[in-house]
């Protein structure tokens, strides 16, 4: 009997786990970053973007998603419970990060994340719905105290305005390229100063909802396509204050871009109620596109191996 004890113990431990596994499936939502038919990368100049077919180099490409749901055969939306991995996902928010810090992506870092992992009840799913951005409840916390990935200061304005939901920095034009940056986030957030979080929900949330009705988890990929986002956007000129569209309701560079998010610049709500006019996200079969591979965060231990040179001074 005594010899049976460890087995009984293990069975007791394993059985409840097995039980959960029978009900819930781990799913991986595969994203990728693209510029038209080409895969996204830092340091590449892409031809023919926007209304004036401008050659453009990207310097950043990251965005947050939250409130992810799968659509089952009955048309119901079933929430995906995200794995809390301590790096890319926290609560119901995940960061997609396609820049690797190379080329002119100088605000970024080496790590790449093109996947979202979560649990859903086992079943057949035929579509996916998600929101781009950070929910209001998490949007105005102190970024330095927030858990990863909400502690990236490069993805954050300040307490009042919160996070940049998407950050796409560009150099547009071949000779004398101009900076053209897209930073989407909430506006009309009322508080006494930039360092004070608002008590009431911002008047223009600018959270787009993306509904992809036909999406095969196993075989499809969600393509975030910057050529699509820049459709009919004039990249030759930019009102210099600020360069590109930083989501301001009176930013002269925003009216041409906002419809591509499916958003109404004046209200911060979806145009026609469903943001379906958006041109950033589309579904593609995995076999038809190049999928950006995840790159793990380089640990500090790895970094130390690079201290080789001695021609340096203390400051």
């Amino acid at each position: 009997m005594k010899r049976l004890f460890p087995i009984v113990l293990l069975v007791l431990i394993i059985f409840p786990l097995a039980d959960v596994q029978a009900q819930d499936d781990l799913i991986i939502l595969q994203f990728t970053g693209a510029v038209g038919d080409e895969v996204f990368s830092c340091g590449t100049v892409y031809e023919g973007l926007g209304a004036e077919e401008t050659a453009t180099e990207f310097m950043d490409f990251r965005f947050y998603v939250h409130d992810i749901r799968l659509i089952n055969a009955g048309g119901e939306e079933v929430p995906v419970e995200l794995m809390q991995d301590g790096v890319w996902q926290v609560e119901n928010v995940a960061l997609l990060d396609f820049e690797d810090g190379s080329g002119r992506c100088d605000v970024g870092n080496q790590a790449i994340n093109a996947t979202v992992e979560g649990m859903v009840p086992a079943g057949e799913y035929t579509g996916v719905v998600f929101k781009m951005g950070v929910p209001f409840e998490l949007n105005h916390n102190d970024t330095t105290l927030a858990p990863s990935p909400l502690n990236l200061t490069g993805m954050w304005w300040n307490w009042q305005t919160g996070y940049k939901f998407i950050r796409v920095d560009m150099l547009a034009g071949e000779e004398d390229p101009i900076p053209w940056n897209i930073h989407l986030g909430s506006t009309g957030c009322d508080s006494p100063a930039a360092v004070v979080p608002p008590e009431d929900v911002c008047s223009r949330l600018n959270v787009m909802e993306v509904r992809l009705d036909e999406f095969d988890l196993e075989n499809d990929v969600i393509v975030a396509d910057l050529a699509g986002l820049l459709e009919d956007v004039n990249l030759v000129e930019s009102d210099p204050m600020p360069p590109g569209c930083q989501a301001g309701f009176d930013d002269p560079d925003c009216p041409q871009l906002f419809p591509n998010f499916g958003l109404d610049l004046e209200t911060g709500e979806c145009l026609e109620g469903d943001c379906s006019g958006q041109t950033l996200f589309r579904v593609a079969a995995r076999e038809n596109v190049t999928i950006i591979e995840d790159v793990d965060v380089m640990s500090d231990m790895d970094m130390e191996g690079h201290t080789e040179d001695h021609s340096q001074h203390s400051n």
Partner: protein
């Protein structure tokens, strides 16, 4: 067969538990050193301290003596504190610093304010991510000579070894080491001391983190809102509680350690900076890293002038005008060139038009980051002077 495997797993599990238990007991039973308690200011996260150099009260105390002791330099004339003066937020007030033999470094002494949160160390070196790595450079570096320990190693250690105060301090900090008088122990102690240099009680902190809405003047609040605006764009690089995007702390899972070109120079029309101050390019040799420097914290910036990596700007007014102009146009001399047209310049250095009132407001905001408690905190002061009093 399966039973045996299960039994083995079970036994192994128990061994793990016992082993882990022993481990915990050993470290918990070491009463000789006192773990450091941080007492962080409101709004500040815990910093990431390397596991191989845990903070102790004893190491911090030893580090404080070493930081202020010129006997640590080869010829006995220079201490860390020569170039890092507390009243100047641990800078030296000079454009560039001078070493123990009079040789100058090419760069401006950096403030040690909140250095425990630095993403990287020095003005432009992506691989220096720990204070311990940086410290050996001023201690042993020969191009230029700073502390000048190289070639004088035994002499320096003997000076410390023969001092009664140090005999006590080293023994207390390293109770497990038979001979703690070695440079690893010295580097660890100084690193521990400078990690305690936390500044978080400025007027801005009282306004932002302590709810004192009268702590900042109206002008400083206006300046703060301009600082965080898409007109002035300051906050893109100088963001977060430490006013630099190059900030790492205990929960930073995706470290941010960027470097930026701000258009200070353009000596060749192609973005060139004068050697040996070409930023990360000096390390990487990659043209895209030309002129790329780490954005330093702006805390206590009122007292850390001259400014920029080479100390080439005297005043905050000059710095604000430089960013308003979207770079620096040097019309003549060996560094002539229009930095405003530097092709490698960061996209947020686009310039801004501002009234004199607004510029003054921005400067008032920057001055609201001055933390007088930090500049006068006895815990960071010279222990030799305290002892004499």
């Amino acid at each position: 067969m399966r039973h045996i495997v299960f039994a083995l797993i079970f036994v192994f599990g128990i061994m793990l538990v016992i082993f882990a238990g022993t481990e915990t007991r050993t470290s918990a039973q070491d009463p000789a050193v006192t773990p450091w308690e941080w007492n962080l200011p409101p709004g500040f996260p815990e910093s990431a301290v390397p596991e191989d150099n845990p903070m102790t009260v004893e190491k911090v105390e030893l580090g404080r003596y070493l930081f202020y002791d010129p006997r640590l330099s080869g010829n006995g004339v220079l201490s860390c504190s020569t170039c890092h003066i507390q009243g100047l937020a641990f800078t030296d007030g000079r454009a560039v610093s001078a070493g123990s033999t009079g040789e100058t470094t090419p760069r401006n002494s950096m403030s040690l304010t909140n250095v425990t949160y630095n993403g990287t160390f020095t003005w432009a070196h992506p691989a220096l991510i720990r204070i311990e790595q940086q410290l050996v450079i001023p201690m042993f570096g020969e191009t230029p000579i700073e502390m000048g320990i190289t070639g004088n190693e035994e002499e320096v250690l003997d000076r410390l070894r023969s001092d009664e105060t140090y005999q006590e301090l080293f023994a207390a900090a390293y109770p497990d080491q038979e001979d703690p008088f070695n440079f690893n122990a010295i580097v660890q102690a100084i690193s521990s001391f400078v990690r305690t240099m936390i500044s978080g009680n400025s007027a801005f902190d009282r306004f932002a983190f302590q709810g004192q809405r009268d702590a900042m003047s109206e002008s400083a609040i206006l300046g703060m809102n301009l600082f965080y605006s898409e007109r002035f764009e300051c906050f893109h690089c100088h963001t977060g509680f430490n006013f630099t995007i190059s900030t790492v702390h205990s929960t930073s899972a995706i470290p941010e350690r960027p470097f930026f070109n701000t258009g200070l120079y353009n000596v060749d029309g192609e973005g060139g900076y004068p050697a040996p101050n070409r930023g990360v390019y000096e390390i990487s040799g990659e043209l895209e890293d030309m002129g790329a420097f780490r954005p330093p914290t702006l805390r206590n910036v009122e007292v850390t002038g001259p400014y920029m990596h080479d100390g080439s700007m005297e005043t905050l007014e000059e710095v604000v005008d430089f960013y308003a102009a979207a770079g620096r146009n040097i019309e003549e001399g060996e560094f002539a060139g229009d930095g405003r047209e530097n092709p490698l310049k960061n996209a947020f250095v686009i310039g801004f038009e501002a009234t004199e009132l607004e510029k003054q407001a921005l400067i008032d905001f920057l001055k609201s980051l001055t933390d007088d408690d930090f500049l006068t905190n006895p815990a960071f002061s010279n222990p030799f002077e305290t002892a004499e009093e």
